[in-house]
């Protein structure tokens, strides 16, 4: 068994937070001293560079490496803020079919020699792009939101991963809104787990700061003061490394509602 970890971040459904999780998890792992490379496997619709604020530093992409136009290390974009983190960008101007699972494996195999963690950001869907993303992975992180459609797609993906012999799977439930869960308007963590039955890696609350950080290209983890979502991600990074970190309390504090009411009447 090889030592280094190759993890695909995938979901089936688009827009549930795969790229957000990859970027932040990559940053969190790097911050804890691991050497991390994040790979954008979303050819044609790349985003990971944007979330990391590295878009304008891309000179070569994975395709240029495969074509022999540059060396692998030349295509890696190093993060100035966190030297342990590097990005291997996807090509934006090509389709998902422009790279094969074999080529992906070749890239990842080379990268594992120099990095403790290889995180692969998968595109939505279960077609070629997905197949490329999972080709080299040994583990998977399933990202879903507590919505029926997302959970349904995640379930399908879990089945496909099992069929592809990726058995080490963990679940991130993203964008949970505790108040809605309490009002029984949203699936709870247990509801989701009941269906998916994949060990839980963590729960990330819905958090406006995520959008802000996306727009600024500043991962949550870099913030001075971690928000709830930031703490959740950093806990996930620790669990990923075998630490036992209890889940955060995301319940809506009972008194805060009363307090708000009181404030209203004062």
């Amino acid at each position: 068994m090889a030592m280094n970890r190759i993890i695909v971040v995938t979901s089936g459904k688009g827009g549930v937070g795969k790229t957000t999780c990859t970027a932040n998890l990559g940053m969190a792992l790097a911050k804890s001293g691991k050497r991390v490379v994040v790979i954008d496997a979303d050819f044609g619709l790349r985003n990971l560079d944007l979330l990391l604020g590295l878009e304008n530093r891309i000179v070569y992409t994975a395709l240029d490496v495969l074509a022999g136009e540059c060396r692998l290390d030349q295509a890696l974009v190093k993060d100035k803020r966190q030297p342990n983190l590097a990005l291997l960008p996807a090509a934006q101007n090509r389709s998902k079919e422009s790279i094969t699972p074999e080529q992906m494996k070749k890239l990842v195999r080379a990268l594992t020699k120099a990095y403790n963690f290889v995180l692969i950001d998968s595109p939505a869907g279960i077609e070629m792009g997905f197949r490329n993303a999972i080709a080299a992975a040994r583990e998977a992180i399933i990202v879903t939101t507590p919505e029926i459609s997302a959970v349904r797609d995640a379930d399908r993906v879990i089945g496909l991963l099992e069929a592809n012999d990726i058995k080490a799977m963990r679940l991130i439930i993203n964008r949970l809104k505790p108040a809605m869960v309490e009002a029984e308007q949203m699936m709870s963590v247990k509801d989701v787990q009941d269906i998916l039955a994949v060990p839980l890696l963590g729960v990330i609350p819905d958090d406006e700061q995520v959008v802000v950080s996306t727009n600024n290209g500043e991962p949550l983890i870099l913030g001075k003061e971690l928000t709830q979502a930031g703490t959740a991600v950093s806990n996930i990074a620790r669990r990923l490394q075998g630490e036992k970190v209890p889940l955060m309390d995301l319940s809506v504090p009972k008194d805060s509602f009363l307090k708000k009411l009181r404030q209203l009447f004062n």
Binding site: M3, N4, R5, K31, E55, N56, R57, L63, V65, L66, A67, G68, E69, R71, L72, D73, R81, Q92, R94, S95, E97, S98, L107, K113, A114, N116, E162, K167, A168, R170, P178, V181, E182, E184, S188, V189, K190, D194, A197, P199, L200, K224, L226, S234, N235, R238, R239, Q241, G242, K244, V245, P246, L247, M248, D249, L250, S251, V252, K254, S256
Partner: protein
Amino acid sequence: MDNGAGDKIADKKAPKSQPSSEPCIANAAMPDTENPGQPTKPPTSTTNTTSANSRSLLAARLKASKNVELYVFEEDMNEAQESLPLADVASLELDVDTQESISKQQITFKSEQGRLLLLLPQASEKSFTPTEWEELCQQLTIRLSSGDRFFQPNTTVHLIARDRLLDSRQLQKIDELLQTAQLRMKRIYTQRRQTAVAATTSGYSVEQQVKLEHLSDTDDKGKALETPLYLQMTLRSGVEIRHQGSIIVLGDVNPGGSLIAAGDIFVWGRLRGLAHAGAEGNEDCRIMALHMQPTQLRIADHVARAPEKPPAMYQPEVAYVNKGGIRIAIASEFAQIHLNGP
């Protein structure tokens, strides 16, 4: 904006709303919790994720037990902690195939004595893969719609197919696309018997060539630039235009769009994407834009990013190379200094 080693992970930093530091699991919708106000115990169960039926086992457990609220993964991966000494990134090697770089070539239009020549890109694979074919059609559509002001209606087009294999369906598709710009495909130049047969049966005239000697085949790599490519369009994310000469764009280049020219680049609009002038190595090439706000600029082998702080006001600017690398000057001043010199 350095932010790194100093910060420690805020593991114990509880969210503001959390009253106690006691870890607890939130699940308000849980019906089985006896004491909803009390923090519950951290999960104690573990699972073996590597076993094939771990999922169903877990599902069974979840259903059977009233007390298991959340199933938190606990790693059995401690052996992965002490890792091998890592290799230096620069030492990583990959065996590559150069097919990719060939497929970066794009279709080109050339005018020659009042006719248009449409040249298909060269490739090592002679027949088109479905992806390649789709990309080619997209390229052709973009070129046709961005230049249609310049095409005289009913101009005849000669397709230079080189040694690519085309069936009659594909020939008809090209013809259909050309017709959207009121161009007519008339003659096909090919080195392949198969393509020639397909063309004849579809009613086009055919010139079968053993080896292209004339008609501006780019086999002998002349350094002379092509005539400028003039495009009227918005270059959206994901569109890349390559040209063996200068490129003029009447319109915007959005982030994610790129222009790669062997010559100069002029953007009569906002340049927000990537522009690479002198892509074959000519450092004297320039990039001009009415509104210079690029993701990245490249001239020959030089790369530059836009300054972090955008200027208060945009005015036409020129990017050029001097001893220090890529520089940007206000267009009118640049003209005075660099263009009207002795």
